[in-house]
């Protein structure tokens, strides 16, 4: 085994099982491991209890068990300024943002990375299910995690080459059940801790209620695309494209097909609904994206190329043809077959086999017509 004792690795420890095992494995490999807990959000309730307290206690238990020092750092201000503000702005525009993509780009792999470097770190390590691999030119490439159920490259797709140069993902080649087994065998108290779900700062709380605390909800009409009023909505931001639940329409229209959100018209504050899971208005042929970001240079592809893509987390890949603009900041992405519920604000993430190339943020989805095309969703 190489002597790793002079290599300092700062592990982002959340108090969950994944980052616990990361710290454990690195310590086993002889690294100079330092655990750091990030507090990005203050959710202290009326009783003075906050989830960060419980999570930090778990970090303390695990770190003491492993025998590494641990600390806590506060990024509430950075998170508010760089992630939450963006999150609210996107909702105000009627889009459905992905704060976790932004959190990785701005907090975990920026603010935290910088902090780790101030602690004299050689690397940071994270509990993401993703892998990095260096090629012969020293360029780092990001690969999907081996556990296809857990692969988290979707959320890491906006990272730059610089951001992943000094990053380790020690559990990227391990499957989740094995991670839990390692934790249990090592006697880590987080071995059976439930995975966190949902957006980190909202957690288990009611999403609509949470959002309503920050953005005033404006009720409006719920209409079909043909202008038939079907009811009222309680604020456009509370709906996402393709959503079925919570519309409160039943037993009307043709047949008994359920109703779905097919679009939003911000100018008239109208929610557009249509019938049937496979409603035509939900299927797009191509999309436009901006904020394009690639992890490694993509010179080998030119400006037009065929690869695969995901439009939301945990979706199976779809074959796509990408057409980049000249400075690689925007793209038109055409699907091999129509794709349902493309959602502006989410990331379109590009893959070449197992490699995650990068992503863009979806601005609009379109349906090709015999003559020209038509933008869906009116947003």
């Amino acid at each position: 085994m190489p002597d790793n004792s002079k290599t300092r690795v700062v592990v982002g420890m959340s108090g969950g099982v994944d980052s616990s095992v990361v710290a454990y494995l690195l310590k086993q490999q002889g690294y100079d491991v330092v655990g750091v807990f990030m507090k990005n959000w203050d959710d202290t309730d009326e009783m003075g209890v906050c989830t960060a307290t419980e999570d930090y206690k778990d970090v303390a238990k695990v770190a003491n068990k492993i025998g590494i020092p641990y600390y806590s750092v506060n990024f509430e201000k950075e998170y508010w300024d760089r992630v939450f503000t963006y999150f609210l702005d996107e909702y105000k525009k009627g889009r459905t943002p992905n704060p976790d993509v932004m959190c990785n780009k701005e907090i975990k792999f920026k603010a935290f990375f910088d902090y780790a470097m101030e602690l004299d770190a050689d690397y940071i390590a994270m509990g993401h299910y993703a892998q990095v691999e260096q090629d012969t030119d020293g360029i780092m490439h990001m690969l999907r995690g081996d556990d296809s159920n857990k692969d988290q490259t979707y959320f890491l797709s906006q990272l730059s080459q610089e951001q992943i140069q000094k990053v380790m993902f020690p559990i990227g080649n391990i499957e989740k059940p094995e991670v839990r087994r390692i934790a249990e065998e090592a006697g880590l108290s987080t071995a059976k801790k439930k995975d966190s779900t949902g957006i980190c700062f909202i957690g288990e709380r009611n999403f609509t209620k949470f959002l309503g605390e920050y953005l005033p909800a404006q009720t409006g009409n719920m209409m079909t695309v043909d202008g038939v009023k079907m009811g009222e909505h309680y604020g456009l931001m509370n709906y996402t494209i393709g959503q079925r639940k919570g519309l409160g329409i039943g037993g009307t229209g043709e047949g008994n097909d359920p109703w779905f959100v097919v679009g939003k018209d911000l100018s008239t504050n109208t929610l557009i609904v249509g019938q049937g899971y496979h409603n035509d208005l939900l299927y797009a042929d191509y999309l436009e994206a901006s904020e394009l970001s690639f992890i490694a240079p993509i010179d080998r592809f030119g400006n037009d190329f065929h690869i695969t893509a995901k439009f939301r987390y945990r979706q199976t890949d779809v074959g796509v043809t990408v057409h980049l603009n000249d400075d690689h900041t925007e793209a038109t992405v055409t699907f091999d077959a129509p794709v349902r519920a493309i959602t502006p604000g989410q990331a379109v993430v590009f893959y070449d086999g197992t490699e995650c190339l990068g992503s863009g943020i979806i601005d609009a989805a379109f349906k090709s017509l015999d003559k020209g095309s038509k933008q869906l969703q009116y947003v």
Partner: protein, 382 residues
């Protein structure tokens, strides 16, 4: 454990003499001091002897010493029991903005149930203005609680002046002497102190033990209720071995020893300042270098370096200093003491570390600390 410990205001290692006394007491004096058999009597004797040593150390009577679980309990007891007992005489209390949380949180609680509290401001030296105090004092003030020396800056409050003003006033005078006890000569009579809190583990004694001195003429019902220990003023079986250790710790700090320690710590400060100046580190002292201060506390503003980063880097290099108190999620809270002295927008609030020296620290340790500090600050500023 290896490493250099410069956080003695948080707690101190137990003196080996204290450990010996306690070990011996644990083996030989296990009885309950309230029991009426030989085992109880032998514990009672140790308890009485210890109380005598401790009472003498502040020129109090033995009957005026109530053993408690430490500084926090003593502070709570002094404030809460005074309020409960004296509420018919008035609802006004006076304290300072830089007290320990044991005082401040008790005061906040009293405010929530209808008492009125004046929080005296401090100047940049960390001390209150005696004129402010006189102006705040009302006829119906029932308690004044001003700490003797501050745990974050070592600043020394004008205790004698306050006691002098209060000697002809109805208000009782309490002082939190947790940091000062063991470093300053204390005479509760000369300073007209009615109540005084201490903690054993700040002067190389055991943890979870302290006392509240309460002048004999003051009566108040017990805060912790139950048995009749401590003359019915604090229920619960006394931790006799720990109390024996506390008395030993107190006996180790003779008046000469206190002076010697103050001088030794002053020397450390000079050594650090000289080294920082030679290495052109941009710094300022928080508070003052006054001879009157508690010399074991040294609070430094290292300009442009975040407290959290510096404290962590020093820890990783094996040197323990304080960056302030941490919340339950481990984040450092901004210091209410530095805020009171310099305002919440001062960079001192986020760029300062507190060193606190103990009897076992050496010149060599201070030299290592300075070397590491210079190295780390140099790298961070690169």
């Amino acid at each position: 454990m290896s490493g250099i410990y410069l956080d003695n205001a948080a707690t101190t290692p137990m003196a080996k003499e204290v450990i010996e006394v306690m070990t011996n007491a644990m083996q030989t004096t296990f009885g309950n001091a309230s029991s009426t058999h030989q085992f109880g009597r032998s514990a009672r004797m140790v308890l009485d002897d210890s109380r005598k040593v401790i009472a003498d150390s502040i020129h109090a009577k033995e009957s005026e010493i109530i053993f408690t679980s430490g500084g926090t309990e003593s502070d709570n007891m002094a404030i809460m029991q005074t309020a409960i007992q004296r509420k018919s005489l008035g609802k006004h209390l006076i304290t300072s903005a830089v007290e320990h949380q044991a005082i401040l949180k008790s005061m906040k609680y009293l405010e929530s149930i209808g008492f009125e509290v004046t929080y005296l401001p401090v100047n940049e030296d960390g001390v209150i203005d005696i004129t402010d105090f006189k102006n705040a004092l009302k006829d119906d003030t029932i308690l004044v609680s001003i700490m003797m020396g501050n745990n974050e800056t070592g600043s020394h409050m004008p205790i004698h002046e306050i006691g002098d003003i209060l000697k002809d006033h109805q208000a009782w005078f309490h002082t939190d002497a947790v940091q000062a006890y063991g470093l300053l000569d204390i005479d509760v009579n000369v300073d007209h102190i009615d109540m005084l809190s201490t903690s054993a583990h700040k002067l190389n004694g055991p943890k979870f033990l302290g006392f509240l001195y309460k002048r004999d003429t003051i009566f108040s019902p017990p805060f912790i209720k139950g048995g009749e220990q401590e003359d019915k003023r604090r229920a619960g079986t006394e931790n006799v071995p720990a109390i024996a250790g506390f008395a030993k710790a107190v006996s180790l700090v003779s008046d000469d020893e206190k002076k010697a320690r103050q001088l030794k710590y002053q020397g450390f400060k000079k050594q650090i300042i000289a080294a920082l100046e030679v290495n052109k580190i941009d710094f300022e002292i928080n508070g003052t270098l006054s001879d009157d201060n508690l010399q074991h506390v040294f609070n430094i503003w290292i300009k442009g370096v975040q407290t959290e980063v510096l404290q962590t880097r020093l820890d990783l290099a094996g040197i323990a200093v304080s960056g302030g108190s941490a919340c339950t999620a481990g984040n450092l809270e901004p210091s209410h003491v530095l805020i009171a002295m310099y305002g919440e927008n001062s960079p001192r609030v986020t760029e300062s570390i507190r060193l606190s020296f103990g009897k076992d620290n050496t010149d060599e340790e201070i030299a290592v600390f300075v070397t590491q500090l210079v190295r780390i600050v140099g790298r961070l500023k690169k």
